[in-house]
């Protein structure tokens, strides 16, 4: 039950973040190059992602669960620590915050400048921009759905969490027809980094032969540990940044 809630929540949040980023690219492509080609690119990318999930998902379920948890846990931990490191650097001011409005403006300018080339009745730039945007952002979602789902023995549950997020992002994006700049994306990314790292710690330990006291319930303890560690890192780095800025000001 505990792991199931974590599973759905993690898939939902990660998919929401990636969905917002993909939506920004598709909007820029649609506005600058026309909606027909952009939506065709979105459809093709979703089809490719569905094939990836449908073919890799069942293949992973035949691997022994301990070996799967060891490999998936290790990969998730590496992957999750990447997200967490960037989120901590953003929260402490060492890295610029993610700005969907700025990204939309850059993508739009690039799409407007690109020359028109028609293939199969579609604007090729608009098609490939949408296709690549949705495929690359969607691969992270597919990766999380497959790894979380297969390790926890419920790919449909993970897919349901991911699908709910995508439907929500698409519905809101369609309603406002603008980048979802008000979505607290940096906080969501921080949360996803924390959850990926939590699952990574939990599963890699189990896969390596360790046993958690309290079994699945210890996920809450691991989560609390990762949250506290992350906030401590943000606090330390903020102080360090202030010291660096003061030192730079004194030296100027």
């Amino acid at each position: 039950m505990t792991a199931g809630v974590f599973l759905v929540l993690s898939a939902f949040l990660a998919s929401a973040v990636e969905g917002v980023e993909a939506l920004t690219i598709v909007l820029a492509s649609g506005v600058a190059r026309g909606w027909r080609s952009s939506l065709a690119g979105v459809g093709a990318a979703l089809l490719a992602l569905a094939v990836i999930v449908a073919s890799l998902g069942p293949a992973l379920t035949v691997i022994p669960i301990d070996a799967l948890r060891l490999v998936v846990g290790g990969i998730l931990l590496t992957f999750g620590l990447q997200w967490l490191r960037k989120a901590i650097l953003r929260a402490s001011g060492f890295k610029a915050l993610h700005d969907e409005d700025a990204i939309f403006a850059t993508e739009l300018a690039g799409a407007e400048r690109a020359p028109h080339e028609e293939r199969a009745g579609l604007d090729w730039y608009g098609f490939t921009l949408s296709f690549k945007g949705v495929l690359l952002e969607g691969l992270e979602v597919a990766f999380i759905v497959i790894t979380f789902g297969s390790t926890q023995g419920s790919i449909p549950l993970a897919a349901a969490g991911a699908s709910a997020a995508i439907v929500l992002v698409v519905a809101v994006g369609f309603a406002v027809r603008a980048p979802l700049a008000r979505v607290p994306e940096n906080i969501l990314k921080f949360t996803v980094g924390v959850m990926l790292t939590t699952f990574g710690i939990f599963w890699s330990t189990e896969g390596a032969g360790g046993n958690w006291p309290g079994s699945d319930a210890s996920l809450f303890g691991v989560l609390a540990f990762v949250v506290l560690l992350s906030f401590a890192c943000v606090g330390v780095l903020r102080r360090r940044r202030r010291t660096m800025l003061v030192a730079a000001g004194a030296g100027a």
Binding site: L81, Q82, R85, L139, S204, G209, G210, F225, L229
Partner: protein, 65 residues
């Protein structure tokens, strides 16, 4: 660059990202956890401890870069 090399590079950047040292430390931590578990001692504490070290090293490297 060949298709295979681009495919491998994509997955490397996707999973490992810009800090290979962190990835190497995670692999070492998994090995250490397996070693502790195999010796019959409770091993659940090893990975959280390793994450503290990995995150500290990785953040330090990012700031210096």
């Amino acid at each position: 660059m060949s298709y295979l090399a681009r495919f491998a590079r994509f997955w490397w950047e996707f999973v490992v990202g810009d800090d290979w040292v962190a990835a190497a430390l995670v692999v070492a931590a998994i090995g250490a956890t397996a070693g502790v578990a195999a010796s019959g001692i409770a091993a659940w504490w090893a990975m959280p401890l390793a994450v503290v070290v990995v995150l500290a090293v990785s953040l330090r490297r990012a700031i210096r870069a």
